[in-house]
């Protein structure tokens, strides 16, 4: 009788090590969900935001000052025009000649750099396109679509204007309608 009284059944809680693992696991799960939600809510990169550095490999024949790849940070102090295009993209053809003329106008000043980013394309067709429109500014493939994913482009063509401090100034979704439109944006950035 005495023994039964001493050994009264009690409920023992979850051991500490198991509690720690469960809470760490739950906290980790919440962090992952929060990161996913945060990423999903982020739209395209907005004007006023600093554009992070990226590397663009360049097609042979479209190098910049002999370099086969360039980094965005190399162009701090210059206005950078990043044009996303593809050879299969018909609207891109509407603006190709105007972009080239704009490049020819600003290249001698050294204040502006144009970068063509070839999106989801094959190199032979891309070369045909570049040759067809006589494009000479640095151009290269968006390997693994890393750059377009960073900018979260909606399609091609899209053009991003980055100021001398690396801040996004303007985004053109769709093709430019004229050379004047391109020049107006760049001239305004050069004055500021």
């Amino acid at each position: 009788m005495t023994e039964s009284t001493n050994n009264a059944p009690v409920r023992k809680g979850v051991p500490l090590w198991a509690q720690v693992i469960i809470w760490v696991f739950l906290a980790g799960l919440l962090v992952i969900v929060a990161m996913g939600l945060n990423r999903a809510q982020q739209g395209t990169i907005q004007p006023g935001q600093v554009v992070d550095d990226f590397t663009l490999p360049l097609f042979s024949g479209y190098e910049y000052e002999g370099k086969s790849e360039v980094q965005l940070d190399d162009f701090r102090g210059k206005v950078v025009v990043i044009n996303f295009w593809a050879s299969w993209c018909k609207p891109c053809e509407q603006e190709a000649a105007d972009l080239q003329r704009a490049w020819e106008a600003y290249e001698p000043t050294g204040d502006v750099i144009f970068l063509g980013v070839d999106y989801v394309d094959t190199e032979p067709e891309a070369r045909v396109y570049l040759k067809k429109f006589g494009i000479t500014f640095p151009n290269g493939p968006d390997l693994a679509t890393r750059i377009s994913q960073y900018f979260r482009i909606k399609g091609v063509p899209e053009t991003y204007f980055i100021d001398r401090d690396g801040v996004l100034h303007y985004v053109q979704v769709g093709p430019f309608t004229s050379l004047q439109q391109i020049q107006n944006i760049i001239d305004q950035m050069l004055v500021e």
């Binding site: 009284t5 059944p9 009690v10 023992k12 979850v14 198991a18 693992i21 989801v120 394309d121 390997l143």
Partner: protein
């Protein structure tokens, strides 16, 4: 005569090489495992866009260069990203981690509930607890004695 035979064999080899070009079936066998990011959810073998046609031509070219299926898929992954593939490149992590996490969770829950519900005998941890038990024992002893008297 021997010279003519050698020359004819050379020509025969050339003709064989022409026939050895990848067929549409061979191209589509790989194409159906790839997805163009421009046309989401449409396998490359049935995608009608110009971009996908270019990709199929690239597959044909790589096949004719003697590249294997895995090498071609790797080429597309490198150039266009993992989302061009129909399956994630690291299947062990993609499929293994959720299963492992589920099993770990199930184990922890099972272990936790089992320990939580299991009745465990608790021994007196201190003299105080023991002292508290003594009056109870004395009470029972007296109760038993009382019952014996009444019998």
């Amino acid at each position: 005569m021997l010279f003519a035979l050698v020359v004819s064999l050379l020509f025969a080899t050339t003709v064989f090489a022409q026939d050895d070009l990848p067929t549409d079936d061979e191209v589509n066998k790989i194409a159906k495992q790839l997805y163009c990011p421009v046309c989401e959810s449409t396998p490359l073998d049935v995608c009608p866009t110009e971009a996908c046609r270019q990709w199929r031509d690239t597959i044909r070219q790589l096949l004719s260069e003697g590249k294997s299926e895995d090498e071609i898929k790797k080429y597309f992954e490198t150039n266009y990203g993992a989302r061009a593939l129909d399956e994630p490149p690291n299947r062990l992590i993609t499929y293994g981690v959720p299963v492992a996490a589920f099993l770990l969770g199930a184990f922890l829950l099972f272990r936790g509930f089992k320990m939580w519900l299991k009745p465990v005998a608790v021994e007196p941890a201190s003299p105080t607890e023991e002292a508290e038990v003594v009056p109870q024992d004395d009470y029972i002893r007296r109760m038993e004695e009382e019952l014996k008297k009444r019998k």
